[in-house]
């Protein structure tokens, strides 16, 4: 055949050109997915059920490989600069690599915690790891996506695996209920998200993020209703994944119902993926429209901060409390988004990174402390823990204090940076509200701490001498006579406190101005069977916990490496 004929055939048939694929840019994603497939294959090859240890080993190796690949990427990006690959669908920059590192670490810690859980619950099987690895790969895709459609792909890979993970422990009915709630609401939010993509495409003619940014910078959208509606819908989709108020309704139930290691994973990985995509879409692509979306994010942040902190106060279930605290933390990260500049992005990245350690470490303790069947997350179960297991109690106390933002922990530096970003963007009110909500949040973190450091078996020592009302009146009377106009003590009665019968009343007085009055149950006597229960701590979970605590404290005292890491990731941001 002559060459001309060949050429003619080629010209006649529409050619499908596969894009050049830069494998290094998606290596961690491939490793995660490959690891998941490998575990499935191995478990189907062996005749009996795969031993938990084998699955754990494979998952650990996979996570470490992904972490190694991410760090290789980091060196590569630092040397050769950021770029867009695979037909413009994937961004390969410091930002995406940062998310890959975060997710790899979250995965590794989750596997370490999950091993002991699987053995105790005897739910066997490697499914937990397979699903978690897939979910993690989805979060990574969201982190490196450079196209709205790819973001949606990542979102769905991540979410669908999470729906199943929430229902993973089939012996618990709450688990199934949580999964169903998560699935139904999650599907809704996905649909809304896709619709948002469609509207943005309609308004700008592209789903590719740089192209959208390019279009918006060159054109003034005269009637921008379609674009704004698209933006709003995208924001709803993201808001759901990061559990920002008012899209948070699912999170307390799901956090409470899902198996404890999965909850920690969900809180870390879903946040990392969703915030990565949120930052990339809104700060870099819709940066030109920031005047339109900043107020919305401002409102979301304020609502999340306040609602998360206030509702957490009345929780007695530690997992539920952590769900609300996680909403509060999401509000803090939104401060960085709202600032919409380099400082804000770096602050948000840093926050997501260190929060991964704190929250998975916290859920490691929650997992270990639970009874068989993942029951027993009531606050009273934590009473006297410091006496029985001082190391475990100390670790949890450090992680909780770090989440409250106590100095010389990474938690403080995270809060410091987002607040700095907000102040830099002249959102003074937002910064002040955030810090005030941090003070409220400190209360419920300390409740757990004080329960742990109170003697087990003793009745509510701090409150039993005076009925709640009397204590409240005492505070109120004093504040009243102080002439500060405080209505403290006359506030609404907390239903839990009323039901419990024992309660200390705390008048939380915001200095000077309006007073917020809360009657909160500070403590309660444990049920008799609780006192003196010592739980075994699996070695791997202890390792994860140790890593989390060490990271939180060491990099709180020596902040430079991680702070620089987050800032350089932002500098290498496309």
């Amino acid at each position: 055949m002559s060459p001309s004929l060949l050429l003619g055939v080629a010209a006649a048939t529409p050619r499908f050109r596969t894009p050049h694929i830069d494998y290094l840019s998606i290596l961690p994603i491939l490793i995660m997915m490959g690891g998941a497939v490998a575990i499935v294959v191995v478990s189907s090859l062996v005749r009996r059920q795969l031993r938990t240890g084998v699955g754990t080993l494979l998952a650990i190796v996979t996570s470490l490989a992904a972490l190694g690949a991410s760090l290789t990427q980091w060196a590569d990006v630092a040397d050769h600069g950021a770029k867009v690959t695979i037909a413009g669908a994937v961004a390969y920059d410091g930002f995406s690599v940062f998310i890959q590192v975060t997710v790899s670490i979250a995965m590794l810690l989750t596997v370490l915690v999950g091993d002991g859980y699987l053995r105790r619950e005897d739910v066997g099987g490697p499914e937990l790891y397979v699903l978690a690895l897939l979910s993690a790969s989805g979060a990574m895709v969201m982190g490196s996506a450079n196209d709205l459609i790819v973001i949606f792909l990542g979102l769905e890979i991540m979410s669908i695996a999470l729906y199943v993970l929430a229902a993973f422990n089939h012996r618990r009915t709450e688990s199934g209920e949580a999964a169903l709630k998560y699935f139904i609401l999650g599907s809704f939010s996905s649909a809304i998200f896709v619709y948002g993509i469609a509207l943005v495409y309609g308004a700008t003619g592209s789903t590719n993020l740089p192209e959208i940014a390019d279009y918006l910078s060159k054109n003034v959208v005269a009637s921008n209703g379609v674009l704004l509606a698209g933006l709003a819908l995208l924001l709803v989709g993201f808001g759901f994944k990061i559990a920002a108020v008012p899209f948070h309704m699912w999170s307390p139930d799901v956090y409470q119902g899902a198996p404890s290691p999965v909850t920690g994973f969900m809180a870390a990985v879903a946040k990392a993926g969703a915030f990565a995509a949120l930052l990339r879409v809104f700060v870099s692509s819709f940066g030109a429209e920031r005047a339109d979306w900043q107020p919305i994010v401002w409102a979301l942040a304020i609502l999340s901060l306040v609602v998360g902190a206030v509702l957490a106060l009345s929780q007695r279930d530690v997992k539920r409390m952590l769900a609300y605290s996680s909403i509060n933390q999401a509000g803090f990260i939104l401060l960085g988004v709202q600032a919409a500049d380099g400082r804000g992005v770096a602050a948000s990245l840093y926050y997501v990174f260190v929060y991964t350690f704190m929250i998975i470490g916290t859920f490691a303790v929650v997992t270990v402390l639970a009874r068989t069947g993942d029951r027993g997350h009531d606050l009273s179960e934590y009473r006297g823990l410091a006496k029985r297991q001082p190391l475990l109690a100390g670790a949890l106390a450090i992680l909780l204090l770090a989440q409250a933002g106590v100095p010389f922990t990474t938690g403080f530096l995270a809060k410091f940076q987002v607040v700095a970003a907000a102040v830099d963007a002249h959102s003074y009110a937002l910064a002040a509200v955030a810090m005030a909500s941090g003070a409220i949040a400190a209360f419920f973190y300390l409740r757990v701490a004080i329960a742990m450091y109170s003697p087990a078996g003793a009745s509510g020592d701090d409150a039993s001498h005076e009925p709640a009302g009397a204590a409240g009146a005492g505070v109120g009377g004093e504040a009243g006579s102080a002439g500060s106009g405080s209505p403290a003590g006359s506030g609404m009665a907390d239903p839990v406190g009323a039901a419990g019968g024992r309660g200390g009343a705390v008048g939380v007085a915001a200095p000077g101005v309006a007073m917020l009055s809360l009657q909160v149950l500070t403590d309660e006597a444990p049920s008799p069977e609780v006192a003196g229960r010592t739980v075994p701590v699996p070695a791997l979970a202890a390792t994860a916990l140790g890593l989390a605590v060490a990271f939180t404290v060491v990099f709180g005292i020596v902040p430079a490496p991680i702070v620089d890491f987050a800032h350089r990731a932002t500098l290498l941001f496309l």
């Binding site: 410091f416 102040v423 002040a432 204590a471 705390v506 200095p511 902040p559």
Partner: protein
């Protein structure tokens, strides 16, 4: 600024912190029962030795920051490990270094001494760190860090309602400092916008130009944190609970040392960073101070247990410190600083003594105690002395502070001083009344069995008694070191205020060049430079009285009573 080769201040902060870690790390089973307490006291004593060394090396006439050490801590964030000490912080550091070993020795933990000692040492590190930090974020870190050990000390070793008191304490102070952090960041960014440098160092930020409104708002943001910590009326409601529920050593340290962070913060940061706003808001702060004095005194009269009496008396004392600070005269501010020192010593002694009473009798209710004078004469004697110092009897340290504060305030804000004097009278009422109830009268059978102070308790309280008497008789060494720094600070605040005299403003010493326009009183210009600061609005009587007042240190120092009568003869 002088750089010393040996990083005294860094070691001063890190030594107790390292001690805390070591104490916490040594397992209970391996060592003797007394090991942790002995180690803790050793570390605290070593810290005291270091503090004394610092005081010896301190250059008396130098008004600036001494023994500074400055290292980058987080470059991207602009945070520095920047420590330095001046006349204002020197005695707070010394006081803290003295009180911590005393509290460890005098009020031992009933249970789990290991954790108690570790928390107390951490509290010492945080307090010392706050006093010597010259980087605003570093200060904030230490300022916040004090909460954690204080919280655990109250919550872990306190009396019946400790959980409630601990959480109330933590949340109040945490809420206050929320605004402080936002304020710190805002100042740094305003400074960055003006100079292009992101830094949190106090000396650099002092050159930030702040508009009137911005200055006032930031002043309030800073002050809200300090007011809660101090505590200053009306932000005090956590303190009676915390002081009453904490263990004796905890109350002594929290009220004696940690609470000083509030007033210290006002003097160090509010006055330096926001001189204009300080002038604008001085009447407000003075009013709060006076209300605090009267309210604290009146409520103290109504208390039925000793710890709460002392807690409310502390509120009144804080009012005096505030009054002296915002009088914005050298006398007043020196009085405020020296009063922080005095109040720390007095209240620590009072809480220790009450702690010993509680240890013996299981109660600090005034009604449950009677006639302790007979079975415990030494306890009664020491209590009397400390109480008289607290009332402000001449010859004891309390008088020096109160006198300087009142005379300094009288110069610039006469009526506030007049009203505040009423508080002095009421203080005598409630303390003497409580004393009468507890120590006089016919003891019941139970009272007669109350043991007197044993030898080690006498040994522990002795240094405090010595300091109380010594400072009352001869405060010159303290005044000499405080005055240069205070003078510089007052000069700085004056400089920012357009109505003041430039000749005064340029001065770094207590004797600026004459030739300024404080003309209405020739006596003032000729006698004493500080009088010129009174702004020329005062009559000859004031000026003459002022000539005896302690701006020239020696007069006031040696014969405080003489000063008073000197003024009175006019």
């Amino acid at each position: 600024m002088s750089h010393t080769p040996f990083p005294f201040l860094t070691v001063l902060v890190l030594l107790p912190a390292a001690g805390a870690v070591v104490v916490a790390a040594v397992p209970r089973e391996r060592v003797a029962r007394w090991f942790h307490e002995a180690l803790g006291v050793t570390v605290a004593m070593a810290t005291l030795a270091l503090a004394v060394t610092i005081a010896v090396r301190f250059k008396v006439a130098d008004a600036g920051y001494q023994m500074t050490s400055n290292h980058v801590w987080a470059k991207v964030l602009g945070i520095h490990w920047f420590l330095g000490i001046d006349g204002i912080s020197l005695f707070l550091v010394l006081m803290a270094a003295v009180l911590f070993p005393i509290a460890l020795l005098g009020a031992r933990a009933r249970r789990d001494p290991r954790s108690f000692v570790a928390w107390v040492l951490l509290l010492e590190a945080a307090c010392l760190g706050s006093f010597v930090s010259l980087d605003l974020v570093l200060f904030f870190l230490f300022f916040e860090l004090t909460l954690v050990p204080a919280y655990f000390v109250i919550g872990g070793w306190g009396s019946a309602r400790r959980g409630y008191a601990a959480i109330k304490f933590f949340v109040y102070t945490f809420a206050g400092s929320a605004f402080l952090l936002v304020g710190i960041i805002a100042v740094a960014f305003i400074h960055q916008a003006q100079t292009g440098v992101l830094t949190f160092e106090l000396p650099a930020l002092m050159h930030t130009h702040l508009s009137g409104t911005a200055g006032v708002v930031l002043f309030l943001a800073f002050t809200s944190a300090f007011a809660v910590k101090a505590p200053i009326f009306p932000f005090h409601t956590w303190s009676p609970d915390a002081y009453a529920e904490a263990p004796a050593g905890g109350s002594a340290l929290i009220a004696g040392v940690m609470a000083k962070l509030g007033t210290y913060g006002i003097i160090r940061f509010d006055l330096n960073l926001f001189p204009q706003a300080t002038h604008t808001l001085a009447p407000l702060m003075l009013t709060l101070g006076v209300i605090g004095i009267l309210y604290g005194a009146v409520v103290a009269c109504a208390q039925r247990d000793l710890k709460r009496v002392v807690a409310y008396s502390s509120l009144a004392q804080m009012g005096f410190i505030l009054l002296g600070t915002f009088a914005l005269t050298t006398q007043g501010l020196t009085g405020g600083v020296i009063m922080m020192l005095n109040h720390g010593l007095i209240i620590a002694a009072l809480f220790l003594l009450i702690g010993w009473i509680v240890e013996r009798r299981k109660t600090d209710k005034v009604s449950g105690l009677k006639g302790l004078q007979a079975p415990a004469p030494i306890l009664a004697g020491v209590f009397t002395l400390v109480m008289l110092a607290s009332i402000g009897v001449p010859g004891l340290n309390g008088f020096i502070g109160e006198f300087l504060v009142l005379s300094g305030t009288f110069l610039t804000h006469r009526w506030w001083a007049v009203v505040a004097t009423g508080g002095v009278v009421i203080a005598a009422i409630y303390l003497l009344w409580a004393y009468q109830q507890v120590f006089h009268g016919t003891p019941t059978e139970e009272d007669t069995k109350t043991r007197d102070l044993v030898w080690h308790e006498r040994l522990v309280i002795a240094p405090l008694v010595i300091f109380i008497v010594f400072l009352g008789v001869y405060p010159k060494p303290v005044l000499d070191r405080i005055t240069p720094s205070v003078d510089r600070l007052v000069a700085r605040v004056d400089r920012a205020d357009g109505t003041r005299q430039p000749a005064v403003a340029l001065s770094h010493h207590s004797r600026p060049g004459a030739g300024n326009a404080a003309t209405r009183t020739t006596a003032a210009t000729s006698t004493n430079a500080a009088t010129t600061r009174a702004g020329g609005t005062y009559t000859g009587v004031t000026a003459v009285m002022f000539a005896f007042a302690p701006a020239d240190g020696v007069t006031a120092g040696t014969t405080p009573t003489g000063t008073f009568s000197g003024g009175g003869t006019r």
